[in-house]
């Protein structure tokens, strides 16, 4: 089975923030901020990039749901499912 596109997108954006990290060995349930030394500015940039690429709104109140890779996947999947009757915005 091929990698789901949301996961690829998240991993690409994490790679932009933490270029030296080996994301293939990332613990999917670890707090990304701890595991990858991501600060508040990095996290905001991650949210902004995902907002842009996936075309979904990510309110600040929902940030805690995205603190782990599994959490972010589940959350973004739900958001896309809900918002994606027409095409996602580019």
């Amino acid at each position: 089975m091929s990698t789901p596109p949301i996961e690829t997108t998240i991993l690409e954006e994490l790679g932009n923030i933490a270029p030296e990290a080996d994301l293939s060995s990332l613990d999917r349930r670890a707090d990304l901020r701890e595991a990858l030394d991501i600060d508040s500015m990095d996290f905001l940039n991650l949210v902004a990039a995902l907002h842009k690429r996936l075309g979904i709104d990510i309110p600040e109140l929902d940030y805690p749901q995205m603190f782990t890779l599994d959490g972010a996947l589940a959350y973004l999947g739900r958001r896309i499912g809900r918002q994606l009757e027409p095409d996602p915005r580019a």
Binding site: G15, E20, E34
Partner: protein, 403 residues
């Protein structure tokens, strides 16, 4: 050669972006200098025409050495005869210290502090990676390691065409990527030099104060609810703005301690402490932070963080900061006591925001609070003024809508 940090004694010119005859404008990047902090883009602080390049590529020269001669705007096109000693200089020495006279507004460079003994050796030239700024930028974007490339530029420098010959990029997600052109060992030496000098020369005093952040965080949440992610604000932006406004009001904490005297600064350029992944620290200046809106301040911070981590700081950002803010952000611990970055005279630290029991209207309740600290130079100010300054920051943070 501008002074790009308290302990810099010399620098190596690795790239000229202008040649004799070129028109330049104040703020243009004209050269690249390799220092312990990485490759620094040198901005010019006058407009005019480049007359002569005085320092060739790859030459290491002491701070204060003129790098080029510039004919200022409005001066005759003919090569001016050597001016008599009493007349105003017809040419400006790029990067040299101004001799006497008032510092020019926005003069970004050339503030050589007192000569300090070298704390650290510069790395030998052979270990440096020569590369043009364009090549560094492209390499950083593509995640290429400059050290692995063969340069075809002057002195074997990697130039942008070399990058097209680089092996095809690995998938970005896969393994670890090479870090961009930052030499963390050299950066550590630079930090060591500046901090050792600070502890040797600056009699620090410290104050701390706990600031109730409930109002500020409520305001922030409301402001951010209506903003797309790229326009959202961080608490760190509020901290910087509050410090900048307070610094304007308390000049004894904002400026430079020169060879003998303190020179207060009317402009407030806040040095923003930025952690470098893998261990490193730089505090480039956010210019005129007191006059930026919070949105502009966020944009400026984001830009500064990105460029600093990619090793792309500008000369003015290195030399200009008049006070430093170091903020731990969401993680870490409650309080941070900074070491003043010479020749500045104050540093403000913010720990992470934590929930603590707090007395509100006679009853104890949970409240988000942050510990703000001040490290200041006792040669210039006393605890009394420092305390008023820190209390003023608290007051400003209670009215976030006015920041």
């Amino acid at each position: 050669m501008p002074s790009l940090g308290a302990d810099m004694e010399a620098g190596t010119l690795v790239e000229w972006l202008v040649k004799p005859g070129d028109q330049v404008h104040r703020g243009d990047v004209v050269a690249v200098v390799e220092t312990q902090k990485g490759a620094i883009e040198i901005e010019i602080f006058e407009s005019g025409t480049v007359e002569e390049i005085l320092v060739p590529l790859d030459e290491r020269v002491p701070v204060g050495t003129p790098l080029a001669r510039l004919r200022l705007e409005g001066e005759g096109a003919e090569p001016a005869p050597r001016p008599p000693p009493s007349s105003p200089e017809a040419t400006a020495a790029l990067g040299a210290a101004p001799e006497g006279g008032e510092p020019k507004p926005f003069l970004p460079l050339a503030r050589p502090g007192p000569a300090a003994p070298a704390e650290a050796e510069l790395r030998p030239a052979a270990e440096r990676i020569l590369a043009s700024p364009a090549a560094r930028r492209i390499a950083s974007e593509r995640g290429l390691d400059l050290a692995a490339l063969t340069g075809s530029g002057p002195g074997g420098a990697v130039i942008s065409p070399d990058l097209d010959r680089a092996p095809a990029e690995e998938p970005r997600v896969a393994g670890p990527r090479a870090r961009p052109g930052l030499d963390l060992d050299a950066m550590r030496s630079a930090i060591a030099g500046a901090m050792a000098r600070s502890k040797r020369e600056i009699p620090h005093y410290y104050l701390q104060h706990t600031v109730d952040m409930a109002t500020a965080l409520d305001w922030l949440a409301e402001a951010n609810a209506g903003r797309t992610p790229e326009r959202r604000l961080l608490a760190g932006a509020l901290f910087i703005k509050a410090v900048a406004l307070a610094a304007r009001r308390f000049p004894a904490l904002n400026g430079f301690f020169g060879t003998k005297n303190f020179e207060p600064s009317r402009a407030v350029h806040v040095g923003v402490a930025i952690a470098i992944r893998g261990g490193g620290l730089a505090a480039p200046a956010l210019h005129d932070a007191d006059r930026l809106s919070l949105g502009e301040l966020m944009d400026g911070m984001r830009d500064l963080v990105q460029r600093t981590r990619a090793g792309r700081m500008r000369s003015s950002e290195i030399a200009d900061a008049t006070i430093t803010v170091s903020s731990l952000g969401e993680r870490g611990v409650e309080a941070l006591y900074g070491v003043i970055y010479p020749p500045q005279v104050a540093i403000v630290g913010f720990g992470k925001i934590v929930q603590r029991p707090w007395v509100i209207d006679g009853a104890v309740g949970p409240r988000p609070v942050v510990t703000a600290t001040l490290g200041a130079d006792h040669r210039v100010s006393d605890g009394h003024a420092g305390a008023l300054f820190l209390a003023h920051i608290d007051k400003l943070l209670q009215e976030p809508e006015r920041l």
